[in-house]
C-alpha cells in the first residue's frame, strides 16, 4: 500500500509526521530516504510531536542514534556516516529494530535489506526549494492502517487547498 503527498511547506511536512507518529505502533520501523535537506529530520520532528513529545529532534548524523521518550520510545538513527557492513552490524541495531519502540532511520537506503520486512518506507524527493513529494509505503498488511491515515491526511489537505 502506498500514499503519495506533495508538501509545499515545513509546516505541512511536520503535520504529516504528526499523523505518522499518532498512528505508530510498538516495533514499527520507518525508513527515511531522501537527499540532504529533503526534510527527513523535519518529518521526524512531526513524528515526535505526534507521539506526544514536546522535544525538538536533533540530527543524529554524528551521534548515530538519538533516543526520545514519548508514547513510544523513539530511536532516531542516521546511517549517513557508516561505510561498511561491519560498521552497521557492530552497532547492535537488532535491540532497537526488534524492540518495542519506534525506529526512525535516516539514510536507510545505505543498508537495503537489513531491516525487518514489515517496515514503512518513506521516500522524499525535492521538486524545488520549497516543494517535496513524499511517498509512504509498506508491503506489510499490518501497516495499512498507518498508510490509510496518511492517505486521509493528504485528502483532507487537498480539499483545504482547493
Amino acid at each position: 500500500m502506498r500514499a503519495c503527498l506533495r508538501s509545499t511547506s515545513v509546516e505541512y511536512t511536520r503535520e504529516l509526521g504528526r499523523v505518522m507518529g499518532a498512528s505508530a505502533k510498538p516495533g514499527d520501523v520507518f525508513l527515511l530516504c531522501g537527499g540532504l535537506g529533503a526534510g527527513k529530520t523535519m518529518l521526524t520532528q512531526g513524528i515526535l510531536w505526534g507521539l506526544g513529545s514536546e522535544e525538538f529532534a536533533r540530527s543524529p548524523t554524528f551521534v548515530l542514534v538519538n533516543e526520545y521518550h514519548a508514547r513510544l520510545t523513539v530511536y532516531h538513527m542516521d546511517l549517513y556516516r557508516l561505510d561498511s557492513f561491519d560498521d552497521l552490524d557492530g552497532l547492535g541495531l537488532d535491540d532497537y529494530l526488534f524492540g518495542d519502540g519506534l525506529c526512525v532511520i535516516e539514510w536507510a537506503d545505505k543498508a537495503e535489506g537489513y531491516f525487518p520486512t514489515d517496515h514503512v518506507d518513506v521516500s522524499i524527493s525535492a521538486v524545488s526549494d520549497t516543494e517535496r513529494i513524499f511517498s509512504v509505503s509498506s508491503s506489510a498488511d499490518e501497516r495499512s492502517q498507518l498508510i490509510q491515515a496518511v492517505v486521509d491526511f493528504g485528502r483532507l489537505h487537498a480539499d483545504e487547498h482547493r
Binding site: 561498511s84 557492513f85 535491540d95 529494530l97 526488534f98 535489506g113
Partner: protein, 260 residues
C-alpha cells in the same frame, strides 16, 4: 608462611576455612576450585559462584537493558555471600548467546576482563544449552526457545544422541508450523507460546511453562565446569558472543560486500 598473619588481611574468608585450604594445598591435596558464572543473555540475568561445578551462590534478577550498571554489583554481592573474592577464582564461565546484542556484550566483556587480568581460563557455554540442561536425560528431543524480538525466536534443538545443541533464528510462525507432540519445549519464551502450541497440537504437548527466569547459574556451573575439565576453554582475546543473523540480513551483508 604463617597462615594466621595472611588470614588477617583477608577478612572475607573465615579463618578456619582459609587455614584448612592452605593446609590442603600444602599437603598436596587437590585444591578446591572456584568458578564464577555470568549470564546476561537476556533481560533475565544471573551470576553465581560454584566450587568444582557445584553451585554455592546464585543471584538472578530482571534487567531492563541495565546490565552494564547491574552486573558488577551483583558479582560483588555473590562474592560477599560466598565469602570469596576475585582472587579466589580459578575460572570464569560465561553464557555466550544467542540473546540481546548489548546484553551479551556486557557479560562477555566482563568475563573476558576478569579471565585475562587474573590469567585464569574462560569457558563459553551456549545460552540455549543452559535452557536445555534441566531436561537432558529425559530421552526425548528437547527444544529451547528464547525471544529474538518481534515475531522471532532463537531455537535450540537437542536430540538424546546429540552432543551439541543445534541453534537457529526462526520466525515465530515458521517455528509453530513445525511443532511435534514428542518434543519437550522449554526456555524463556515457552510460556508465551503455550496457548498457540496447545491449539496446534490439540492440547497434548510437552513443555515447561514455569515463568522466567528459566536459566540457572547452577546449569552454567555444571556445563561450564564439564567443558573446563574437557579442556574446551575460550581465548579471552578473540571469543565473541554468538550472534545469529537472519538469512535476509546475510543476503544484505553479501550485497553490501559487493558494493564496497
Amino acid at each position: 608462611m604463617n597462615p594466621e598473619i595472611e588470614c588477617s588481611s583477608r577478612q572475607s574468608i573465615p579463618r578456619v576455612l582459609y587455614i584448612r585450604r592452605i593446609r590442603a594445598n600444602r599437603e598436596g591435596f587437590a585444591k578446591i576450585k572456584v568458578e564464577l558464572q555470568i549470564d546476561t543473555s537476556t533481560r533475565y540475568a544471573s551470576v553465581g559462584i560454584s566450587s568444582d561445578g557445584a553451585s554455592i551462590v546464585e543471584i538472578g534478577w530482571r534487567s531492563e537493558r541495565n546490565h552494564s550498571m547491574e552486573l558488577v554489583p551483583a558479582i560483588n554481592r555473590a562474592f560477599a555471600q560466598a565469602r570469596r573474592g576475585v582472587e579466589d577464582l580459578d575460572s570464569v564461565l560465561v553464557a555466550s548467546g544467542p540473546g540481546g546484542f548489548s546484553a551479551l556484550r556486557v557479560g562477555m566483556s566482563t568475563a573476558k576482563a576478569i579471565a585475562s587480568t587474573r590469567s585464569i581460563p574462560l569457558v563459553a557455554v551456549g545460552t540455549l544449552d543452559l535452557e536445555i540442561e534441566p531436561f537432558e536425560g529425559m530421552g526425548a528431543r528437547v527444544c529451547a526457545l528464547i525471544s529474538a524480538g518481534r515475531n522471532r525466536l532463537y531455537v535450540g534443538v537437542k536430540d538424546p544422541a546429540d552432543t551439541v545443541v543445534k541453534v537457529d533464528l526462526q520466525q515465530t510462525a515458521e517455528f509453530l508450523g513445525g511443532l511435534s507432540p514428542s518434543t519437550i519445549y522449554c526456555g524463556e519464551a515457552a510460556p508465551d507460546l503455550a496457548a498457540e502450541m496447545s491449539a496446534r497440537l490439540g492440547g497434548s504437548f510437552r513443555a515447561s511453562l514455569s515463568a522466567p527466569p528459566s536459566r540457572r547459574a547452577s546449569a552454567l556451573a555444571r556445563l561450564g565446569y564439564r567443558k573446563l575439565q574437557a579442556g574446551e576453554t575460550a581465548d579471552p582475546a578473540t571469543v565473541e558472543p554468538l550472534y545469529l543473523r537472519s538469512s535476509q540480513v546475510s543476503a544484505a551483508a553479501r550485497r553490501w560486500g559487493v558494493r564496497q
